[in-house]
Structure formats: structure tokens, C-alpha cells
């Protein structure tokens, strides 16, 4: 399945785009998404940390990602 990943902050700089499309196996987990992302964008591994949000909620590594989910990469937040 093709998933769109929204990117913010430093992740947008790393992707050089506000979003990217990624080809994933059906029902991939967040963990496998991160693995795939880091293969394509090794600079992600240099971040302090980053999380994945699925449908506007922080996702756990074992959570599944489905075709229509809104998926985003959340680098360390620094609002306020």
C-alpha cells in the first residue's frame, strides 16, 4: 500500500518536502515504518528522537498502519 507521511520541523528539512509517499506492506507496523524511513533517510537516526502519529494520535511501535490513515512524523517538539 502507498502511505503519505506528513513531515514537520526538522523532518521536513530531511525529506526536503512537507510530505513523502512510501510503499509499505499492508498492515505494516509503526516499527516497520520507522525502519523503512530510516533506510531511505538515514539522517532521521541522528535526531534526539522522533515519534509517529497515526490519525492525530501518538502511535506505539506495535500499532498497525492502514491504507487511509493520516500518518505523520513527529520530531522532538519545541513549542511554547
Amino acid at each position: 500500500m502507498t502511505i503519505t507521511i506528513l513531515a514537520f520541523g526538522v523532518a521536513k528539512d530531511i525529506f526536503n518536502a512537507p510530505s513523502i509517499q512510501l510503499e509499505l506492506m499492508n498492515d505494516a507496523t509503526v516499527m516497520s515504518l520507522k525502519y523503512t524511513l530510516e533506510q531511505e533517510y538515514p539522517r532521521l537516526k541522528q535526531l534526539s528522537s522522533y515519534l509517529i502519529a497515526v490519525n492525530n494520535e501518538y502511535a506505539l511501535p506495535e500499532d498497525y498502519i492502514h491504507q487511509r490513515d493520516e500518518v505523520a512524523i513527529i520530531p522532538p517538539v519545541s513549542g511554547g
Binding site: 492525530n56 519545541s78 513549542g79 511554547g80
Partner: protein, 144 residues
């Protein structure tokens, strides 16, 4: 983008934040104390001059996370009203990225909730800040 109930007022906006309006909004006849926290853009970070800041939000999710914080403080303290406004875009030194206002019958609850909200916002709400220096720029907290 906003989220509003009679007692909770959450906003993410590119426009200037208004201290007087935010303070007025949380006032109620039952309030005895109001705590307002105002974040302002500082002219330096670790001794290095900052020219301006840029704030970016994942707005839909940020509103949801702010709603969670507001719901949480209502369970922790007896409060009357809670307001969280955050600005996005380019901000100059002295401008206001965030205003938090909390009203309560007694001041302890207002102070404690105000502080909890800003502390938690900085940990959980998907908003990012870029510091622009004379010789470069950096996304705050991105790298170890």
C-alpha cells in the same frame, strides 16, 4: 484553527496574540485568581543572539493534544476556565508565541494549573520552533 467550549478556549493562529482578550475570556464572577503565562521571544539562546523564531504546528493534532491537557487540568484542580493560544509563523524578538490563562476560585489552583499546562505543552504538543541566528538556523531540540 480553534477548539472552544464554554470553559475551554484553544487556538492556533498566525495572528498576534492578545493578552487582554485572553485574560478577559477566563474571568468569571466565581473567579478569585487568574494566572496568565505569556511566552515571549527572547533575544538570545545560551548567549547567542537570536534574530527571530519560526513556529510550525501540526495543527489538527496540536489542537487535540491541547484539548487533552485542558481536560487533564480540570481533573487535577478546581478551575473555572482554561485558555491556550499558540501562534505560528515568523516571530520577532519581544513577540508572543504562547498565552495560557487559567481562572479559579483560589489562586493556588490557577498558578499550579498554569504551570502544568505550559510544562506539558512543551513536552507533548506537536509544535516546532526554529531559531534564526546571524550565521544559521536550528530546529530547537531536534538533535542531541
Amino acid at each position: 484553527m480553534m477548539s472552544s467550549t464554554p470553559t475551554t478556549n484553544i487556538l492556533i493562529t498566525d495572528a498576534t496574540l492578545n493578552i487582554a482578550e485572553c485574560s478577559q475570556w477566563v474571568m468569571t464572577p466565581e473567579s478569585g485568581g487568574i494566572d496568565v503565562f505569556i511566552g515571549t521571544v527572547r533575544n538570545a539562546t545560551k548567549g547567542k543572539a537570536v534574530l527571530r523564531l519560526e513556529f510550525e504546528a501540526y495543527a489538527t493534532m496540536a489542537i487535540k493534544e491541547m484539548e487533552k491537557i485542558a481536560a487533564e487540568v480540570y481533573t487535577k484542580w478546581p478551575l473555572q476556565k482554561v485558555l491556550i493560544h499558540h501562534r505560528t509563523g515568523t516571530l520577532q524578538v519581544g513577540e508572543i508565541p504562547v498565552i495560557i490563562a487559567v481562572s479559579a476560585a483560589h489562586r493556588d489552583a490557577a498558578f499550579e494549573a498554569g504551570r502544568y499546562i505550559i510544562d506539558t505543552l512543551k513536552q507533548t504538543v506537536p509544535i516546532w520552533k526554529k531559531e534564526i541566528f546571524e550565521d544559521g538556523e536550528v530546529w530547537v531540540a531536534a538533535h542531541p
